[in-house]
Assembly symmetry: C2
Homo-oligomer: 188 residues x 2
């Protein structure tokens, strides 16, 4: 694809993020995406044939970006604690903005489509955390924890609070507790 | 209410549980409940005016039962570890049966109704775990943990895995990891 094509795709993905966060997956139409991007139907359809393909590309972009950030930092030899703190800060910011959460959209998408992509997304998130925690154990910065166990606690407590913060107002205290718990597990 | 009235209400709640677990909240109609209970419209409406009231009564019943079980055991002086193990076993069973999860129904209900009842439900669950953990610390069976922090980890990792197990097939290993993590936090 041309550089311009990639830029347009990226622009569409960035613009439609808010739509999916706000409306979930089912209620977003290609017409909504045309409106928010100010593109013609023809222009939009030349990049994405339907909202499922668009949403899949969006998930992939987010997932790749997260993995890339961690990989880059590890390759640079940044301390594991620094990478962890920035990942936890990111997590805390996300929890503080339930209106930006794609949880509902992911749930609705998975009900209507092959869940294979969501399984892959989940694997990516697991891999990312596994890589970081194993790296921190190797550098001696993290405790010698059961990596898979801590990864499950991180991923599911995050998902739980993300989803529930869409249902009820969530006190900041609760996200602090979860972030502190994760940090305490890893940092001696 | 007469004993018979209470029995009928209980019967309706038990029968409609599977409906809400399967279909969520939005898609359940009073007609569905008539069908599953084999009751007339008049019979059903004399107990519940709408599906929201019915669902609220169902949530209250489950929440009361859970709290009652813990209270009764504490009042009997059962060891905290025994109560914990039975609560965790219950949790593990529930995670193993995503088709019985009310997570989606709760989410949909909260979108369409005053979230006050869901906030109350969440408080009840917090109180139940707080009571158990404080009791175990007092008897010396549990570590002297930050109670609120562990309660948040328990509730949200449970909610996260409950919701995600509706989206993707969940390996039993993951629920074992979460249950083990909780047990390790509490039992020295």
């Amino acid at each position: 694809m041309s550089a311009k094509g990639i830029r347009t795709k990226d622009f569409i993905l960035d613009a439609s993020y808010a739509l999916f966060a706000q409306k979930g997956f089912k209620q977003v139409t290609m017409k909504n995406v045309c409106e928010i991007t100010n593109m013609s139907r023809g222009g939009l359809y030349s990049h994405f044939p339907d909202t499922a393909t668009l949403f899949e590309a969006l998930l992939e972009k987010i997932s790749d970006k997260n993995a890339f950030d961690i990989d880059t930092e590890i390759d640079k030899g940044s301390p594991a604690t620094v990478i962890l703190n920035s990942a936890l800060l990111q997590m805390q910011k996300e929890i503080g903005h339930p209106e930006d959460s794609l949880s509902v959209a992911i749930y609705e998408y998975a009900q209507m489509n092959d869940p294979q992509r969501i399984i892959k997304l989940n694997h990516h998130a697991e891999d990312k955390w596994e890589r970081l925690i194993s790296y921190g154990i190797k550098t001696g910065e993290f405790r010698d924890v059961d990596v898979d166990e801590i990864v499950s606690i991180i991923l599911y407590s995050y998902q739980g609070i993300r989803m529930w913060s869409r249902i009820i107002p969530m006190k900041k205290k609760v996200s602090d507790q979860i972030i502190n718990h994760i940090r305490k597990q890893l940092i001696p």
